[in-house]
Amino acid sequence: MKLRLPPLLRRAVPAGLLALASAVAHAQLAIEITGAGANRMPVAVAAFDGENTLPRAVTDVVRADLERSGLFKMIELGPTPMGADAPVDYPRIRSRGADAIAVGTVSPNGGGRYQVQVRLHDTPKQASLGSQAMVMSPNQYRATGHRIADFIYEKLTGEPGVFSTRIAYVLKLGSRYELQIADADGSNAQTALASREPIISPAWSPDGSRLAYVSFEAKKPVVYVHNLATGQRNVAANFKGSNSAPAWAPDGRRLAVVLTKDGQSQLYSVNADGSGVQRLASSSGIDTEPAWSADGMIYFTSDRGGSPQIYRVPAGGGDAQRVTFEGGYNVSPRPSPDGRSLVYVSRNGGRFQVTLLDLASRQTQTLTDSSKDESPSFAPNGRMVLYATEIGGRGVLAAVSSDGRVKQRLSVQSGDVREPAWGPQPRN
């Protein structure tokens, strides 16, 4: 079954659609920083030379990204531009408190496009840390800003940044449900699927081109795979009974799903086109919420031992092994990208909280102080965990660093946001 859906909204909104654009803006995710790292590195991003010829400043996006990461303290240098190849007055920058400074040049590149060159300097060492150049059209200023922020982040932390990634989530507006895709900073939200019936459990394909999810539009849970660029989608699992909890295999060809076609909720795998269904594991209880790890394990929730706990089984088959032992309710496991830790939701007293388990040391840490946390997922660099929670009776998204220090909140002016999933690194 193939359905043709409207393609994602284009970035350039025709004038006739301004009313729609303002409705979209109303549902725009606003990001708010509610906690920062203990030792933030002081960094300056100078105004880029020639940047004032662009309709919107690239460096505003760069500064907002770095600030929001909670790892950097932005040092203001004022409006005087500093070019990518101009000499840097290190003592002056140092005296303003910046340990690093990014400078850059924006120059016309023909055909209405621009070249943006950025260079990063270590001010105590008085040395260049490297440079990067990219070509963009003016309406790509946000994407360019995110790429520059990724460049600076990686040079200063040694880890890849996630400013160019996207997130998926479900927005509930009254009785309507929208599966939306936004940039990691909440901007540029676009609706991939709109429905009168609930949508849950979006899962990104490893290459970021497709989402698998559960839609109730057929009055029962059915798993779909949706191509974001074309709006084409296909049924991946619609067996008798319920079909839910899709999780992509690392190769992007198969999905783990939960089916009830043979009785209770159990784990199966299917090809993304819905063919080739196979049993993955068997138990006498509920098995659900599978998640593939980089090291070939499938983590899942099972109540085979009496209460819902997290187990894992080799993706190629084998015996299931229990992973969580503390407490009577541990659900929604997601392994970190490096496979060393696991986040999940744990019930502590009456509170449901995002918890991190170090798989080697068996140490656990409660990462949040909220009480209705759901659906955690790691950023692709493993540094942050995105989850859904409730504040003042409204569903919001929140992110917390894996050390529990940096905290962000993403909410909309009206409506509930839930079911977040952090997408993979974009492929260039």
Binding site: S201, F216, K220, S242
Partner: protein, 182 residues
């Protein structure tokens, strides 16, 4: 025929006893004998479903919507963390089983639900246990496997949306929908 009916009645009684925490002895299980409908005499005529050869339309369907007919009631409520059909729903389950047996072309979608606390996907699995309990009871009372599909809506379609015990209770239910209603 009599033997067959008696057997069904015994199966029904044992099923419902198995499904309930405190088996009832009030004799209501005997209502199962009415399943062959119009052929019997002396039964409450308001409970006799009309059999349609083509399995759709007619008075049998009207009964499903008639507020005075038990068939218009479609919800089975469950206790917290429980997947057992309570005694009070025995007449309801029996009436729907009779209707399905009398209307073999009629299909039913049973939607299980869960309260909102905790994981959406785990709640989906818990809702499935409730719809499966309803399906099993209907099947053991004679409805055929091909007529029944049990699915879960998890916590996604609450009938009540406040964070109170009463509300959570209202959301722990199984709903029975017939062909044309889903």
């Amino acid at each position: 025929m009599k033997f067959a009916r008696l057997t069904l009645s015994l199966i029904a009684a044992s099923v419902l006893a198995a499904c309930s925490s405190a088996p009832s002895t009030d004799g209501q299980g005997a209502a199962v004998e009415d399943r062959s409908g119009a052929a019997s005499s002396g039964v409450d005529s308001s409970r006799i479903p009309t059999v349609n050869a083509d399995g759709s339309g007619g008075a049998g369907i009207a009964a499903l919507k008639d507020p005075k007919n038990i068939l218009s009631k479609r919800s089975v409520m469950f206790d917290f963390d429980s997947y057992v059909i309570k005694d009070e729903y025995r007449p309801l389950i029996e009436a729907h089983a009779r209707f399905l047996v009398a209307n073999p072309k009629m299909k039913m979608l049973i939607q299980g639900n869960a309260d909102e606390r905790g994981s959406r996907e785990y709640n989906l699995a818990l809702g499935q246990k409730r719809s499966d309990a309803v399906k099993k009871a209907l099947g053991l009372l004679g409805a055929s496997e091909s007529q029944l599909e049990s699915v879960s809506l998890g916590e996604e379609k609450p009938s009540c949306s406040e964070a109170t015990e009463a509300c959570w209770g209202a959301n722990r239910r199984g709903d029975m929908l017939y062909s044309g209603e889903f």
